[in-house]
């Protein structure tokens, strides 16, 4: 079957400044062919100047992520025929949220610096020997780690750093100082590790501006991750760990606390109280002119009139039970 590939080309050597353009290649595609196979075939047989990254071609090295029909995917793990059948087109572009260097190759340095920002290595507790050379020859000193401990970080450690999540991330699209889903998934890989000794310090740093609370929960990262890392899930894990460890002095955590409180109190979201608690008194005052405009359209929430749901006692019971069972679980683990 002949399929037309529309590939975005760009070569900074071709002008000052060079403009990207689309070039079409028609290729005979056979069953089972991946987009990477197709790119290799084009580069081998039609245009040796076409540039793109690749290595393992089995979806584990993370080199070959590109935009296929508008969405970030590994070119090696995307089959041409079903993709074409579904989308009716075959448009290949460099990843979004990254600066193109040549053809499909983007500048990955910002990606790596984001990863480096989370100090992506284990800094073990002092109980674990850290001195080099002090290694028991036969004793299995990792015995404290259970399969359940590993399950907590299992997904986060599947990351292959292909950049699909950062490419799709809507927060990064707007705020280029945002730390991004890939680095946050890596951060949970460490914070969630029972052997890690600096979780709290990490959570404090992650709670700073442009950090983990800036995720807009657009779910793109989780939807398009080719390795089922579910970065959003890892961000949620980081956030709830921060709540439990009491890293609360930031708008993100206050927002969540206000929500938890509001649901416990009235069973529902109390927007006015939440705004007040998240922003604090002074910033909430700043919202007044805006609030007055909303009020004219009847859109200003009225905290005092806010009705409770029926059987609110059940909700409060659930809060207490969840807390009690968690405490029990924690103590069982300790003992």
């Amino acid at each position: 079957m002949k399929i037309k590939f529309k590939i975005k080309r760009y070569n900074p050597a071709e002008g000052e400044p060079a403009e990207p353009y689309f070039q079409a290649y028609t290729l005979d595609v056979e069953e089972g062919m991946s987009v990477l196979d197709a790119l290799l075939k084009i580069a081998d047989e039609q245009d040796t100047t076409l540039s793109f990254r690749r290595s393992c071609r089995s979806s584990i090295c993370g080199s070959c992520a590109v935009n296929i029909n508008g969405f970030a995917r590994l070119s090696c793990a995307t089959q041409v025929m079903p993709e074409y059948a579904k989308m009716g087109d075959m448009v290949i572009e460099p990843l979004s949220n990254h600066v193109p260097l040549k053809d499909l190759i983007v500048d990955f340095n910002p990606f790596w610096s984001r990863i480096e920002k989370v100090a992506p290595y284990l800094t073990p507790t002092s109980r674990r020997a850290r001195r080099r050379g002090d290694v028991p020859a036969r004793e299995n000193d990792g015995a404290r780690v259970t399969a359940r401990d590993e399950e907590a970080i299992d997904k986060s450690q599947r990351c292959i750093m292909c950049g699909c999540c950062n490419s799709e991330c809507n927060a990064l699209e707007i705020d280029d100082r945002y730390i991004g889903p890939a680095a946050l998934a890596k951060a949970w890989r460490l914070v969630g590790d029972v052997r890690e000794g600096n979780s709290r310090k990490r959570l404090e740093r992650l709670s700073e501006e442009h950090g983990m609370w800036n995720c807009v929960r657009c779910v793109h990262c989780t939807q398009y991750c080719p390795k089922s890392v579910s970065p959003l899930k890892q961000i949620e894990s980081l956030r709830s760990r921060a709540m439990k460890e009491g890293v609360l002095d930031n708008p993100g955590a206050k927002h969540v606390e206000a929500m938890a409180d509001s649901v416990k109190r009235v069973g529902r979201l109390d927007e006015a109280a939440m705004t007040f608690r998240t922003l604090g008194f002074l910033r909430s005052l700043g919202m007044i002119p805006f609030g007055l405009k909303m009020e004219r359209h009847g859109k200003m929430p009225k905290p005092l009139l806010f009705p409770q749901i029926e059987n609110i006692a059940e909700v409060r019971d659930i809060y207490e039970e969840a807390e009690r069972l968690e405490k029990e679980d924690r103590e069982r683990k300790k003992g």
Binding site: N69, W213, T222, P251, H297, K299, I309, A322, L325
Partner: protein, 290 residues
Amino acid sequence: MALLRYAYYPGCASHEITKEANETTIVVAARLGIELVDMPKANCCGAGLLTDYDYPLSLALNARIFAEAESLGLDIMTICSTCLMVMNTANRDLRNSPELLEKTNAILARTGLRYGGNVKIKQLLWVLAGDYGIGNLKKQVVKPLNWIKAAPFYGCHSLRPSDALGFDDPMKPWSLEAVIEALGAESVDFKGKTKCCGFQIDLVDEETAAKMTATRLLDGKGKGANCFVTPCPFCHINLDNYQSLAEKAASKKISMPIFHLAQLVGLALGLSSGEMKLSRHLVSPEKIIK
């Protein structure tokens, strides 16, 4: 056609700030013959924030909502994409793991409630495009909206994560376009239709949120839309209530009217702009209503 009945879960936003979404849904559903059964006990789904707070607690609170619907023998219909996503994600996790379901029911035990795992959660958009059907909807249209060029703003939570939601395809969604076209209006395609409105960080990083809202609005406007329609009240809050902030962030006048899905449907069914509560919007849609 069999009678459609749902346990109706408007979501917190539509109880208060966007109550026009709730009120117009009730009117439109009645006109279409869809029966909505109240859930007076239902609590908040947590909007994702309770997932951040405490995952087991958030599952239990969602299970409480599901248990109420289960006792009514009905599936849930919401008009909020975030509720849709949060509830479906919780439901997926509970249904995929008998162990987790058991643990969650243990938290519920004191209240005497129990969730059996048998509820489905839909939103108005899915009901119209799925259970009710585009063909049937078309038959009800008395006033085709042929002057309207609507940007179908899905936002995030009616599409992703698709393994929990499953109704539409996040890479090639069709349902909102299909509804718009059934109403006789034109649907305007734009890249930003499946992206985020910025709502979740309105209170954390207003600047980014406002820029994001502006980017979406300008994207749709650039493609020739004369209004947006969204199935989600949170998207509505950002696109409409906070449009002035977006304009400030982008240093551009945008003036884009934003419809709740039910409102657009209602207008095509011949309901008046008063019945559709259009005066509650900050950016007035009156100028494009004939």
